[in-house]
Protein backbone atom coordinates (compact mmCIF):
# COMPACT_ATOMS: atom_id res chain seq x y z
CA UNK A 1 0.00 0.00 0.00
CA UNK A 2 1.18 3.50 -0.65
CA UNK A 3 0.00 7.05 -0.15
CA UNK A 4 -3.54 8.17 -0.66
CA UNK A 5 -4.29 9.67 -4.02
CA UNK A 6 -7.40 11.65 -4.85
CA UNK A 7 -8.75 9.91 -7.90
CA UNK A 8 -11.87 9.61 -9.92
CA UNK A 9 -13.46 6.22 -9.46
CA UNK A 10 -13.30 5.53 -13.16
CA UNK A 11 -9.57 6.19 -13.27
CA UNK A 12 -8.79 4.49 -10.03
CA UNK A 13 -10.45 1.33 -11.24
CA UNK A 14 -8.14 1.27 -14.25
CA UNK A 15 -5.05 1.81 -12.14
CA UNK A 16 -6.18 -0.92 -9.77
CA UNK A 17 -6.81 -3.32 -12.64
CA UNK A 18 -3.35 -2.60 -14.00
CA UNK A 19 -1.74 -3.26 -10.64
CA UNK A 20 -3.85 -6.40 -10.31
CA UNK A 21 -2.23 -7.67 -13.48
CA UNK A 22 -4.48 -6.67 -16.37
CA UNK A 23 -2.23 -7.31 -19.35
CA UNK A 24 -4.73 -6.27 -22.01
CA UNK A 25 -7.66 -3.93 -22.40
CA UNK A 26 -10.06 -3.94 -25.31
CA UNK A 27 -13.00 -1.58 -25.19
CA UNK A 28 -15.12 1.11 -26.71
CA UNK A 29 -15.82 4.54 -25.24
CA UNK A 30 -19.09 5.25 -23.52
CA UNK A 31 -20.13 7.75 -20.92
CA UNK A 32 -20.05 7.65 -17.88
CA UNK A 33 -16.83 5.68 -17.86
CA UNK A 34 -14.74 7.19 -20.64
CA UNK A 35 -11.97 8.00 -18.21
CA UNK A 36 -11.41 4.29 -17.72
CA UNK A 37 -10.38 3.40 -21.28
CA UNK A 38 -8.60 6.73 -21.54
CA UNK A 39 -6.58 5.90 -18.48
CA UNK A 40 -5.75 2.49 -19.88
CA UNK A 41 -4.71 4.08 -23.18
CA UNK A 42 -2.10 6.10 -21.32
CA UNK A 43 -0.83 3.48 -18.93
CA UNK A 44 -0.85 0.23 -20.87
CA UNK A 45 1.63 1.30 -23.56
CA UNK A 46 3.89 2.69 -20.83
CA UNK A 47 4.00 -0.78 -19.30
CA UNK A 48 4.33 -2.60 -22.60
CA UNK A 49 0.85 -4.04 -22.23
CA UNK A 50 -1.98 -4.12 -24.72
CA UNK A 51 -4.52 -1.37 -25.17
CA UNK A 52 -6.84 -1.41 -28.14
CA UNK A 53 -9.88 0.67 -28.88
CA UNK A 54 -12.25 -1.73 -30.61
CA UNK A 55 -14.62 -0.69 -33.35
CA UNK A 56 -17.62 -1.52 -31.16
CA UNK A 57 -18.59 -3.30 -27.99
CA UNK A 58 -19.41 -6.38 -30.04
CA UNK A 59 -15.86 -6.43 -31.35
CA UNK A 60 -14.47 -5.52 -27.94
CA UNK A 61 -15.96 -8.49 -26.14
CA UNK A 62 -14.85 -10.83 -28.89
CA UNK A 63 -11.32 -9.44 -28.63
CA UNK A 64 -11.52 -10.03 -24.91
CA UNK A 65 -12.73 -13.54 -25.67
CA UNK A 66 -9.73 -14.10 -27.93
CA UNK A 67 -7.23 -12.79 -25.40
CA UNK A 68 -8.94 -14.79 -22.65
CA UNK A 69 -8.36 -17.93 -24.69
CA UNK A 70 -4.64 -17.31 -24.36
CA UNK A 71 -4.96 -17.17 -20.58
CA UNK A 72 -3.99 -13.51 -20.49
CA UNK A 73 -5.51 -11.29 -17.80
CA UNK A 74 -7.84 -9.17 -19.89
CA UNK A 75 -10.48 -6.59 -19.14
CA UNK A 76 -13.09 -4.47 -20.83
CA UNK A 77 -15.18 -1.70 -19.39
CA UNK A 78 -18.39 -0.20 -20.63
CA UNK A 79 -21.81 1.03 -19.61
CA UNK A 80 -25.32 -0.31 -19.99
CA UNK A 81 -26.03 -0.03 -23.77
CA UNK A 82 -22.54 -1.24 -24.54
CA UNK A 83 -22.95 -4.14 -22.13
CA UNK A 84 -26.18 -5.15 -23.85
CA UNK A 85 -24.24 -5.48 -27.08
CA UNK A 86 -21.84 -7.88 -25.40
CA UNK A 87 -24.42 -10.43 -24.36
CA UNK A 88 -23.73 -12.92 -27.10
CA UNK A 89 -20.04 -12.73 -26.29
CA UNK A 90 -20.67 -13.23 -22.58
CA UNK A 91 -22.60 -16.37 -23.31
CA UNK A 92 -19.78 -17.73 -25.48
CA UNK A 93 -17.20 -16.89 -22.85
CA UNK A 94 -19.24 -18.62 -20.17
CA UNK A 95 -19.43 -21.85 -22.09
CA UNK A 96 -15.76 -21.72 -23.06
CA UNK A 97 -14.48 -21.56 -19.47
CA UNK A 98 -12.16 -18.65 -20.10
CA UNK A 99 -11.40 -15.95 -17.57
CA UNK A 100 -11.96 -12.22 -18.01
CA UNK A 101 -13.12 -9.15 -16.20
CA UNK A 102 -15.88 -6.80 -17.33
CA UNK A 103 -16.80 -3.55 -15.67
CA UNK A 104 -20.28 -2.14 -16.18
CA UNK A 105 -20.74 1.44 -15.00
CA UNK A 106 -24.51 1.34 -15.14
CA UNK A 107 -26.41 4.34 -16.45
CA UNK A 108 -30.06 5.26 -16.73
CA UNK A 109 -32.07 3.21 -19.19
CA UNK A 110 -33.73 1.61 -20.96
CA UNK A 111 -32.47 2.51 -24.42
CA UNK A 112 -30.21 5.49 -24.74
CA UNK A 113 -31.65 6.77 -21.49
CA UNK A 114 -29.28 9.12 -19.77
CA UNK A 115 -25.79 9.01 -18.31
CA UNK A 116 -26.79 9.28 -14.69
CA UNK A 117 -26.12 6.50 -12.18
CA UNK A 118 -28.45 3.52 -12.11
CA UNK A 119 -28.62 -0.06 -10.93
CA UNK A 120 -31.07 -1.36 -13.47
CA UNK A 121 -28.74 -3.93 -15.01
CA UNK A 122 -28.91 -6.19 -11.97
CA UNK A 123 -31.07 -8.78 -13.69
CA UNK A 124 -28.93 -8.67 -16.80
CA UNK A 125 -25.77 -9.24 -14.81
CA UNK A 126 -27.00 -11.81 -12.31
CA UNK A 127 -29.61 -13.85 -14.15
CA UNK A 128 -27.95 -13.84 -17.53
CA UNK A 129 -28.63 -11.26 -20.21
CA UNK A 130 -27.30 -13.63 -22.82
CA UNK A 131 -28.79 -16.93 -23.87
CA UNK A 132 -28.44 -20.19 -22.05
CA UNK A 133 -27.82 -21.23 -18.46
CA UNK A 134 -24.75 -19.40 -17.29
CA UNK A 135 -23.51 -17.09 -14.61
CA UNK A 136 -20.76 -14.62 -14.15
CA UNK A 137 -19.47 -13.72 -10.75
CA UNK A 138 -20.87 -10.26 -10.08
CA UNK A 139 -19.13 -7.92 -7.66
CA UNK A 140 -20.65 -4.65 -6.45
CA UNK A 141 -18.37 -2.22 -4.61
CA UNK A 142 -19.74 0.81 -2.79
CA UNK A 143 -16.70 3.04 -2.41
CA UNK A 144 -13.86 3.94 -4.69
CA UNK A 145 -11.45 2.21 -2.31
CA UNK A 146 -13.45 -0.98 -2.26
CA UNK A 147 -13.73 -0.88 -6.00
CA UNK A 148 -9.96 -0.73 -6.30
CA UNK A 149 -9.36 -3.54 -3.86
CA UNK A 150 -11.94 -5.59 -5.66
CA UNK A 151 -10.10 -5.52 -8.97
CA UNK A 152 -7.53 -7.88 -7.50
CA UNK A 153 -10.28 -10.25 -6.42
CA UNK A 154 -11.93 -9.93 -9.79
CA UNK A 155 -8.89 -11.18 -11.67
CA UNK A 156 -8.11 -13.82 -9.10
CA UNK A 157 -11.64 -15.21 -9.15
CA UNK A 158 -11.70 -15.10 -12.93
CA UNK A 159 -8.52 -17.16 -13.10
CA UNK A 160 -9.49 -19.48 -10.28
CA UNK A 161 -12.76 -20.50 -11.88
CA UNK A 162 -12.03 -19.67 -15.51
CA UNK A 163 -15.07 -17.48 -15.48
CA UNK A 164 -16.12 -13.98 -16.37
CA UNK A 165 -16.25 -11.60 -13.44
CA UNK A 166 -18.47 -8.55 -13.73
CA UNK A 167 -17.78 -5.55 -11.58
CA UNK A 168 -21.04 -3.68 -11.38
CA UNK A 169 -20.62 -0.04 -10.54
CA UNK A 170 -22.51 3.04 -11.54
CA UNK A 171 -21.74 6.49 -12.80
CA UNK A 172 -21.73 7.85 -9.29
CA UNK A 173 -18.90 5.63 -8.16
CA UNK A 174 -17.14 6.22 -11.46
CA UNK A 175 -17.42 9.99 -11.45
CA UNK A 176 -16.74 10.69 -7.83
CA UNK A 177 -13.28 11.37 -6.48
CA UNK A 178 -12.09 9.95 -3.21
CA UNK A 179 -8.66 9.38 -1.82
CA UNK A 180 -7.55 5.82 -2.51
CA UNK A 181 -4.65 3.64 -1.56
CA UNK A 182 -3.61 0.90 -3.95
CA UNK A 183 -2.58 -2.57 -2.98
CA UNK A 184 0.76 -3.96 -4.08
CA UNK A 185 1.41 -4.74 -7.68
CA UNK A 186 0.60 -8.25 -8.75
CA UNK A 187 3.66 -10.18 -9.83
CA UNK A 188 2.84 -10.38 -13.52
CA UNK A 189 6.26 -11.74 -14.36
CA UNK A 190 5.27 -14.93 -12.60
CA UNK A 191 2.25 -15.50 -14.83
CA UNK A 192 2.62 -18.45 -17.11
CA UNK A 193 0.56 -19.34 -20.13
CA UNK A 194 -1.87 -21.91 -18.74
CA UNK A 195 -1.78 -25.38 -20.24
CA UNK A 196 -5.27 -24.99 -21.72
CA UNK A 197 -4.47 -21.79 -23.61
CA UNK A 198 -4.68 -21.61 -27.38
CA UNK A 199 -1.45 -19.93 -28.41
CA UNK A 200 -0.15 -22.51 -30.85
CA UNK A 201 0.66 -26.07 -29.87
CA UNK A 202 4.40 -25.53 -29.49
CA UNK A 203 5.95 -28.23 -27.32
CA UNK A 204 2.63 -29.41 -25.92
CA UNK A 205 1.74 -33.02 -26.81
CA UNK A 206 -1.94 -32.23 -27.29
CA UNK A 207 -3.48 -29.38 -29.15
CA UNK A 208 -5.88 -27.03 -27.42
CA UNK A 209 -9.29 -26.23 -28.75
CA UNK A 210 -11.59 -23.74 -27.13
CA UNK A 211 -15.18 -23.90 -28.21
CA UNK A 212 -18.66 -23.41 -26.85
CA UNK A 213 -20.07 -25.76 -29.47
CA UNK A 214 -21.07 -29.31 -28.71
CA UNK A 215 -23.49 -30.46 -31.30
CA UNK A 216 -24.85 -33.52 -29.54
CA UNK A 217 -27.30 -32.52 -26.84
CA UNK A 218 -25.95 -35.30 -24.66
CA UNK A 219 -22.51 -33.72 -24.80
CA UNK A 220 -23.78 -30.19 -24.42
CA UNK A 221 -25.72 -31.27 -21.37
CA UNK A 222 -22.52 -32.64 -19.88
CA UNK A 223 -20.81 -29.33 -20.57
CA UNK A 224 -23.70 -27.60 -18.87
CA UNK A 225 -23.58 -29.88 -15.89
CA UNK A 226 -19.92 -29.07 -15.47
CA UNK A 227 -20.77 -25.39 -15.59
CA UNK A 228 -23.51 -25.90 -13.03
CA UNK A 229 -21.10 -27.75 -10.78
CA UNK A 230 -18.73 -24.82 -10.99
CA UNK A 231 -21.57 -22.48 -10.08
CA UNK A 232 -22.50 -24.62 -7.07
CA UNK A 233 -18.91 -24.41 -5.85
CA UNK A 234 -18.90 -20.67 -6.29
CA UNK A 235 -22.23 -20.38 -4.49
CA UNK A 236 -20.79 -22.34 -1.65
CA UNK A 237 -17.51 -20.59 -1.08
CA UNK A 238 -17.45 -17.21 -2.77
CA UNK A 239 -20.42 -15.40 -1.26
CA UNK A 240 -19.47 -11.98 0.09
CA UNK A 241 -21.53 -9.41 1.90
CA UNK A 242 -21.27 -6.70 4.51
CA UNK A 243 -23.49 -6.41 7.55
CA UNK A 244 -23.72 -2.87 8.86
CA UNK A 245 -25.07 -2.33 12.37
CA UNK A 246 -26.98 -5.58 12.19
CA UNK A 247 -26.16 -6.88 15.65
CA UNK A 248 -29.13 -5.36 17.37
CA UNK A 249 -31.15 -4.54 14.27
CA UNK A 250 -34.91 -4.83 14.34
CA UNK A 251 -35.15 -3.85 10.72
CA UNK A 252 -32.90 -4.41 7.81
CA UNK A 253 -32.25 -2.41 4.70
CA UNK A 254 -30.91 -4.42 1.77
CA UNK A 255 -29.00 -2.48 -0.83
CA UNK A 256 -25.91 -2.83 -2.98
CA UNK A 257 -23.28 -0.48 -4.33
CA UNK A 258 -24.01 3.22 -4.27
CA UNK A 259 -27.45 2.78 -2.78
CA UNK A 260 -25.97 0.91 0.16
CA UNK A 261 -23.54 3.69 0.72
CA UNK A 262 -26.30 6.27 0.79
CA UNK A 263 -28.40 4.03 2.98
CA UNK A 264 -25.63 4.05 5.57
CA UNK A 265 -26.34 7.72 6.07
CA UNK A 266 -30.05 6.89 6.36
CA UNK A 267 -29.29 4.25 8.96
CA UNK A 268 -27.29 6.76 10.93
CA UNK A 269 -30.21 9.17 10.80
CA UNK A 270 -32.49 6.43 12.09
CA UNK A 271 -30.12 5.36 14.81
CA UNK A 272 -30.00 8.96 16.04
CA UNK A 273 -33.73 8.69 16.56
CA UNK A 274 -33.29 5.36 18.32
CA UNK A 275 -34.54 3.15 15.51
CA UNK A 276 -32.50 -0.04 15.36
CA UNK A 277 -31.97 -0.62 11.70
CA UNK A 278 -29.02 -2.20 9.94
CA UNK A 279 -27.93 -2.97 6.41
CA UNK A 280 -27.21 -6.20 4.60
CA UNK A 281 -25.10 -5.25 1.63
CA UNK A 282 -24.50 -8.04 -0.87
CA UNK A 283 -21.00 -7.64 -2.26
CA UNK A 284 -21.30 -10.62 -4.57
CA UNK A 285 -24.61 -10.18 -6.37
CA UNK A 286 -23.95 -13.53 -7.91
CA UNK A 287 -23.51 -15.67 -5.85
CA UNK A 288 -26.21 -13.90 -3.88
CA UNK A 289 -25.94 -14.09 -0.09
CA UNK A 290 -29.23 -15.85 0.49
CA UNK A 291 -27.85 -17.44 3.64
CA UNK A 292 -27.33 -14.21 5.53
CA UNK A 293 -30.84 -13.12 4.65
CA UNK A 294 -32.17 -16.39 5.96
CA UNK A 295 -30.07 -16.05 9.07
CA UNK A 296 -31.53 -12.66 9.88
CA UNK A 297 -35.11 -13.50 8.98
CA UNK A 298 -36.14 -14.29 12.53
CA UNK A 299 -34.30 -11.38 14.07
CA UNK A 300 -35.92 -8.57 12.11
CA UNK A 301 -39.45 -7.32 11.64
CA UNK A 302 -39.17 -6.62 7.96
CA UNK A 303 -36.80 -6.15 5.07
CA UNK A 304 -36.59 -2.87 3.24
CA UNK A 305 -34.92 -3.13 -0.11
CA UNK A 306 -33.56 0.00 -1.77
CA UNK A 307 -32.30 0.13 -5.33
CA UNK A 308 -31.88 2.51 -8.21
CA UNK A 309 -34.23 0.46 -10.34
CA UNK A 310 -37.78 -0.85 -10.32
CA UNK A 311 -37.04 -3.72 -7.95
CA UNK A 312 -34.53 -6.20 -9.25
CA UNK A 313 -32.38 -7.46 -6.40
CA UNK A 314 -35.72 -7.35 -4.61
CA UNK A 315 -36.55 -10.70 -6.16
CA UNK A 316 -33.44 -12.28 -4.70
CA UNK A 317 -34.17 -10.76 -1.33
CA UNK A 318 -37.68 -12.18 -1.51
CA UNK A 319 -36.33 -15.55 -2.53
CA UNK A 320 -34.08 -15.43 0.53
CA UNK A 321 -36.80 -14.28 2.89
CA UNK A 322 -39.14 -16.88 1.37
CA UNK A 323 -42.34 -15.43 2.71
CA UNK A 324 -41.25 -15.35 6.33
CA UNK A 325 -41.23 -11.58 6.75
CA UNK A 326 -42.56 -8.66 4.74
CA UNK A 327 -40.21 -7.23 2.15
CA UNK A 328 -40.77 -3.60 1.23
CA UNK A 329 -39.16 -1.75 -1.58
CA UNK A 330 -38.05 1.74 -2.38
CA UNK A 331 -36.59 2.55 -5.76
CA UNK A 332 -35.67 5.46 -7.96
CA UNK A 333 -35.55 5.09 -11.70
CA UNK A 334 -33.82 6.28 -14.81
CA UNK A 335 -30.74 7.78 -13.23
CA UNK A 336 -32.30 9.35 -10.16
CA UNK A 337 -30.25 8.77 -7.05
CA UNK A 338 -32.22 8.57 -3.84
CA UNK A 339 -31.11 10.87 -1.06
CA UNK A 340 -30.36 9.51 2.37
CA UNK A 341 -33.24 11.51 3.73
CA UNK A 342 -35.74 10.16 1.28
CA UNK A 343 -34.70 6.57 1.97
CA UNK A 344 -35.10 7.22 5.63
CA UNK A 345 -38.53 8.75 5.15
CA UNK A 346 -39.71 5.87 2.99
CA UNK A 347 -38.36 3.40 5.51
CA UNK A 348 -40.02 5.12 8.44
CA UNK A 349 -43.34 4.97 6.68
CA UNK A 350 -43.20 1.18 6.91
CA UNK A 351 -42.73 1.20 10.64
CA UNK A 352 -45.52 3.71 10.85
CA UNK A 353 -43.12 6.54 11.71
Amino acid sequence: MGEKILMKGSEAIAEAAIRAGAMAFYGYPITPQNETPEYFSRRMPELGRTYLQAESEVAAINMVYGAACTGTRVITTSSSPGISLMQEGFSYIANSDVPCVVVNAMRGGPGLGDIAPAQADYFQATKGGGHGDYHSIVLAPHTVQEQCDMMYDAFDLADKYRIMVVVLVDGLLGQMMEPVEFKDWADVKSYKTPDWATVGQGERSNRNIITSLEILPEDLEKMNLKLQEKYRTIEEIEVRFEEYKMDDAEYVITAFGTTARIAKTSVNMARKEGIRVGIIRPITLYPFPYAVIEKRVNQVKFFFDVEMNAGQMLEDVRLGVNGKKPVYFYGRLGGMVPTAEEIYTAFKKQIGG
Binding site: A54, N62, V64, A67, T198, T211
Partner: protein, 248 residues
Protein backbone atom coordinates in the same frame (compact mmCIF):
# COMPACT_ATOMS: atom_id res chain seq x y z
CA UNK B 1 8.26 -44.37 -57.36
CA UNK B 2 8.67 -40.74 -56.64
CA UNK B 3 6.14 -39.12 -54.33
CA UNK B 4 4.47 -36.30 -56.24
CA UNK B 5 1.78 -35.45 -53.73
CA UNK B 6 1.16 -36.67 -50.23
CA UNK B 7 -1.80 -35.53 -48.22
CA UNK B 8 -0.66 -33.40 -45.30
CA UNK B 9 -0.78 -34.87 -41.79
CA UNK B 10 -1.98 -31.54 -40.51
CA UNK B 11 -5.25 -32.35 -42.13
CA UNK B 12 -6.50 -34.92 -39.64
CA UNK B 13 -7.84 -38.38 -40.25
CA UNK B 14 -11.28 -37.43 -39.02
CA UNK B 15 -14.02 -37.64 -41.63
CA UNK B 16 -15.13 -34.15 -42.52
CA UNK B 17 -18.71 -33.07 -42.02
CA UNK B 18 -18.80 -31.59 -45.49
CA UNK B 19 -21.09 -32.71 -48.25
CA UNK B 20 -19.54 -34.77 -51.03
CA UNK B 21 -17.55 -32.53 -53.36
CA UNK B 22 -17.59 -29.51 -51.10
CA UNK B 23 -14.44 -27.44 -51.67
CA UNK B 24 -14.15 -26.56 -47.98
CA UNK B 25 -12.03 -29.70 -47.89
CA UNK B 26 -9.77 -28.43 -50.67
CA UNK B 27 -9.24 -25.19 -48.78
CA UNK B 28 -8.41 -27.16 -45.64
CA UNK B 29 -5.82 -29.15 -47.50
CA UNK B 30 -4.20 -26.05 -49.01
CA UNK B 31 -4.00 -24.43 -45.60
CA UNK B 32 -2.60 -27.58 -44.04
CA UNK B 33 0.02 -27.93 -46.74
CA UNK B 34 1.01 -24.29 -46.49
CA UNK B 35 1.30 -24.34 -42.72
CA UNK B 36 3.47 -27.41 -42.94
CA UNK B 37 5.65 -26.11 -45.72
CA UNK B 38 6.12 -22.78 -43.98
CA UNK B 39 6.77 -24.52 -40.68
CA UNK B 40 3.95 -22.72 -38.95
CA UNK B 41 1.82 -25.59 -37.65
CA UNK B 42 2.99 -25.46 -34.05
CA UNK B 43 2.69 -21.70 -33.84
CA UNK B 44 -0.75 -21.53 -35.32
CA UNK B 45 -4.07 -20.70 -33.76
CA UNK B 46 -6.96 -20.92 -36.19
CA UNK B 47 -10.10 -18.99 -35.43
CA UNK B 48 -12.96 -21.01 -36.86
CA UNK B 49 -16.25 -19.49 -37.89
CA UNK B 50 -19.87 -20.42 -37.59
CA UNK B 51 -20.78 -21.97 -40.91
CA UNK B 52 -20.26 -25.37 -42.47
CA UNK B 53 -16.66 -25.18 -41.34
CA UNK B 54 -17.68 -24.75 -37.71
CA UNK B 55 -16.02 -28.06 -36.91
CA UNK B 56 -12.89 -27.13 -38.81
CA UNK B 57 -10.75 -27.72 -35.74
CA UNK B 58 -11.48 -31.39 -36.06
CA UNK B 59 -10.03 -31.36 -39.54
CA UNK B 60 -6.97 -29.12 -39.30
CA UNK B 61 -4.70 -30.13 -36.48
CA UNK B 62 -3.64 -26.89 -34.82
CA UNK B 63 -4.63 -25.02 -31.72
CA UNK B 64 -8.00 -23.52 -32.38
CA UNK B 65 -10.82 -21.42 -31.08
CA UNK B 66 -14.40 -21.24 -32.23
CA UNK B 67 -15.59 -17.67 -32.76
CA UNK B 68 -19.09 -16.30 -32.52
CA UNK B 69 -20.69 -15.89 -35.94
CA UNK B 70 -18.89 -13.11 -37.77
CA UNK B 71 -16.49 -12.18 -35.00
CA UNK B 72 -13.46 -14.21 -36.06
CA UNK B 73 -11.35 -11.17 -36.94
CA UNK B 74 -12.08 -9.57 -33.58
CA UNK B 75 -11.22 -12.75 -31.76
CA UNK B 76 -8.06 -13.16 -33.82
CA UNK B 77 -7.13 -9.58 -32.99
CA UNK B 78 -7.64 -10.32 -29.33
CA UNK B 79 -5.26 -13.25 -29.56
CA UNK B 80 -2.63 -11.73 -31.80
CA UNK B 81 -2.27 -8.54 -29.80
CA UNK B 82 -1.38 -10.41 -26.65
CA UNK B 83 0.52 -13.19 -28.42
CA UNK B 84 2.27 -11.57 -31.35
CA UNK B 85 4.54 -14.58 -31.76
CA UNK B 86 1.57 -16.85 -32.56
CA UNK B 87 0.48 -17.30 -36.14
CA UNK B 88 -3.18 -16.37 -36.08
CA UNK B 89 -5.57 -16.92 -38.93
CA UNK B 90 -9.30 -16.91 -39.40
CA UNK B 91 -11.26 -19.14 -41.71
CA UNK B 92 -14.62 -17.65 -42.65
CA UNK B 93 -17.54 -18.12 -44.97
CA UNK B 94 -19.18 -15.37 -46.96
CA UNK B 95 -22.09 -15.11 -44.58
CA UNK B 96 -19.78 -15.00 -41.64
CA UNK B 97 -17.24 -12.57 -43.04
CA UNK B 98 -19.13 -10.38 -45.47
CA UNK B 99 -22.52 -10.17 -43.83
CA UNK B 100 -22.58 -10.30 -40.04
CA UNK B 101 -18.82 -9.93 -39.72
CA UNK B 102 -18.07 -7.14 -42.15
CA UNK B 103 -17.38 -4.57 -39.43
CA UNK B 104 -14.83 -6.76 -37.70
CA UNK B 105 -13.23 -7.59 -41.04
CA UNK B 106 -13.04 -4.02 -42.30
CA UNK B 107 -11.61 -2.81 -39.03
CA UNK B 108 -9.06 -5.58 -38.67
CA UNK B 109 -8.02 -4.69 -42.22
CA UNK B 110 -7.98 -0.95 -41.54
CA UNK B 111 -5.89 -1.48 -38.44
CA UNK B 112 -3.48 -3.61 -40.40
CA UNK B 113 -3.91 -6.32 -37.81
CA UNK B 114 -1.21 -8.94 -38.28
CA UNK B 115 -3.58 -11.78 -38.95
CA UNK B 116 -4.57 -13.74 -42.04
CA UNK B 117 -8.08 -14.45 -43.25
CA UNK B 118 -9.09 -17.22 -45.59
CA UNK B 119 -12.48 -16.33 -46.94
CA UNK B 120 -14.64 -19.00 -48.57
CA UNK B 121 -17.06 -17.52 -51.07
CA UNK B 122 -19.64 -20.16 -51.91
CA UNK B 123 -22.37 -17.69 -52.74
CA UNK B 124 -24.70 -18.64 -49.96
CA UNK B 125 -25.10 -19.72 -46.36
CA UNK B 126 -24.22 -23.36 -46.61
CA UNK B 127 -24.73 -24.50 -43.10
CA UNK B 128 -28.13 -22.99 -42.52
CA UNK B 129 -29.57 -24.32 -45.72
CA UNK B 130 -28.67 -22.08 -48.59
CA UNK B 131 -29.84 -18.57 -47.81
CA UNK B 132 -28.65 -15.54 -49.75
CA UNK B 133 -25.17 -14.32 -48.88
CA UNK B 134 -23.69 -10.91 -49.74
CA UNK B 135 -21.88 -12.74 -52.56
CA UNK B 136 -24.97 -14.32 -54.10
CA UNK B 137 -25.14 -13.47 -57.80
CA UNK B 138 -27.89 -11.37 -59.32
CA UNK B 139 -30.64 -13.71 -60.39
CA UNK B 140 -29.43 -16.59 -58.23
CA UNK B 141 -32.16 -18.53 -56.49
CA UNK B 142 -31.53 -19.25 -52.82
CA UNK B 143 -33.85 -20.22 -50.02
CA UNK B 144 -34.33 -16.55 -49.16
CA UNK B 145 -34.32 -15.26 -52.72
CA UNK B 146 -36.86 -17.73 -54.08
CA UNK B 147 -37.48 -15.49 -57.08
CA UNK B 148 -33.79 -14.92 -57.71
CA UNK B 149 -31.68 -12.17 -56.19
CA UNK B 150 -32.94 -8.79 -57.37
CA UNK B 151 -30.85 -5.67 -56.80
CA UNK B 152 -33.92 -3.59 -56.01
CA UNK B 153 -35.03 -5.96 -53.25
CA UNK B 154 -31.84 -7.67 -52.13
CA UNK B 155 -29.00 -5.37 -53.10
CA UNK B 156 -25.86 -6.09 -55.05
CA UNK B 157 -23.15 -8.73 -54.64
CA UNK B 158 -20.31 -7.54 -52.47
CA UNK B 159 -16.71 -7.63 -53.59
CA UNK B 160 -14.78 -7.81 -50.39
CA UNK B 161 -11.18 -7.77 -51.64
CA UNK B 162 -11.90 -4.89 -53.98
CA UNK B 163 -13.36 -2.99 -51.06
CA UNK B 164 -10.62 -3.82 -48.57
CA UNK B 165 -7.96 -2.92 -51.11
CA UNK B 166 -8.97 0.74 -50.69
CA UNK B 167 -7.76 0.65 -47.09
CA UNK B 168 -4.24 1.35 -45.90
CA UNK B 169 -3.98 -1.50 -43.42
CA UNK B 170 -3.92 -4.64 -45.57
CA UNK B 171 -0.61 -5.98 -46.79
CA UNK B 172 -2.05 -8.58 -49.11
CA UNK B 173 -5.52 -8.85 -50.64
CA UNK B 174 -6.34 -11.43 -53.28
CA UNK B 175 -8.96 -13.67 -54.75
CA UNK B 176 -8.37 -17.21 -56.05
CA UNK B 177 -10.60 -20.09 -57.02
CA UNK B 178 -10.96 -23.79 -56.24
CA UNK B 179 -12.65 -24.96 -59.40
CA UNK B 180 -9.72 -26.55 -61.20
CA UNK B 181 -6.27 -27.99 -60.48
CA UNK B 182 -4.64 -24.96 -62.08
CA UNK B 183 -6.60 -22.52 -59.98
CA UNK B 184 -5.99 -24.62 -56.91
CA UNK B 185 -2.25 -24.40 -57.44
CA UNK B 186 -2.57 -20.66 -57.80
CA UNK B 187 -4.77 -20.46 -54.71
CA UNK B 188 -2.08 -22.12 -52.69
CA UNK B 189 0.46 -19.56 -53.89
CA UNK B 190 -1.83 -16.75 -52.80
CA UNK B 191 -2.39 -18.38 -49.43
CA UNK B 192 1.32 -18.65 -48.91
CA UNK B 193 1.80 -15.01 -49.81
CA UNK B 194 -0.87 -14.11 -47.29
CA UNK B 195 0.82 -16.22 -44.64
CA UNK B 196 4.16 -14.65 -45.37
CA UNK B 197 2.62 -11.19 -45.02
CA UNK B 198 1.73 -12.11 -41.48
CA UNK B 199 4.98 -13.88 -40.77
CA UNK B 200 6.79 -10.72 -41.80
CA UNK B 201 4.40 -8.57 -39.73
CA UNK B 202 3.50 -6.47 -42.77
CA UNK B 203 -0.17 -6.13 -42.00
CA UNK B 204 -3.51 -7.75 -42.58
CA UNK B 205 -3.76 -10.37 -45.30
CA UNK B 206 -6.77 -12.01 -46.86
CA UNK B 207 -7.43 -14.47 -49.66
CA UNK B 208 -10.93 -14.98 -50.94
CA UNK B 209 -11.44 -18.44 -52.41
CA UNK B 210 -14.25 -18.82 -54.91
CA UNK B 211 -15.87 -22.06 -53.89
CA UNK B 212 -19.11 -23.95 -54.47
CA UNK B 213 -21.94 -25.45 -52.48
CA UNK B 214 -23.26 -28.42 -54.41
CA UNK B 215 -25.92 -29.22 -51.82
CA UNK B 216 -27.58 -25.87 -51.77
CA UNK B 217 -26.89 -25.02 -55.37
CA UNK B 218 -28.74 -28.29 -56.02
CA UNK B 219 -26.09 -29.44 -58.46
CA UNK B 220 -23.60 -32.24 -58.56
CA UNK B 221 -20.10 -31.32 -57.40
CA UNK B 222 -18.96 -31.40 -61.02
CA UNK B 223 -21.76 -29.13 -62.21
CA UNK B 224 -21.02 -26.81 -59.30
CA UNK B 225 -17.41 -26.43 -60.36
CA UNK B 226 -18.59 -25.61 -63.84
CA UNK B 227 -20.98 -23.01 -62.57
CA UNK B 228 -18.24 -21.47 -60.44
CA UNK B 229 -16.09 -21.21 -63.53
CA UNK B 230 -18.70 -19.97 -65.94
CA UNK B 231 -20.95 -17.83 -63.78
CA UNK B 232 -19.16 -16.89 -60.61
CA UNK B 233 -15.62 -16.14 -61.75
CA UNK B 234 -16.70 -13.53 -64.31
CA UNK B 235 -18.34 -11.60 -61.46
CA UNK B 236 -15.66 -12.40 -58.88
CA UNK B 237 -12.47 -12.40 -60.91
CA UNK B 238 -9.27 -13.92 -59.68
CA UNK B 239 -6.58 -11.42 -58.88
CA UNK B 240 -4.28 -9.73 -56.41
CA UNK B 241 -5.83 -6.45 -55.36
CA UNK B 242 -3.26 -5.16 -52.96
CA UNK B 243 0.28 -6.35 -52.51
CA UNK B 244 2.49 -4.09 -50.48
CA UNK B 245 6.24 -4.14 -50.68
CA UNK B 246 7.83 -7.09 -48.96
CA UNK B 247 5.06 -9.61 -49.59
CA UNK B 248 6.17 -12.64 -51.54
Amino acid sequence: MKLIYKAPDTMTEKDTTYCPGCPHGIAHRLISESLEEMNLVKKTVIVWPVGCSVFGYYFIGTDAVEAAHGRACAMATGIKRVHPESFVMTYQGDGDLASIGIAETVHAAARGEKITTIFINNGNYGMTGGQMAPTTLIGQVTTTTPYGRKPEANGFPMHVPEMLATLDGPAYVARAALDSPQHIIQAKKFIQKAFSAQAKRLGFSIVELVSTCPTNWKMTPVESMERARKEVLPVFPIGEFRVIKGVE
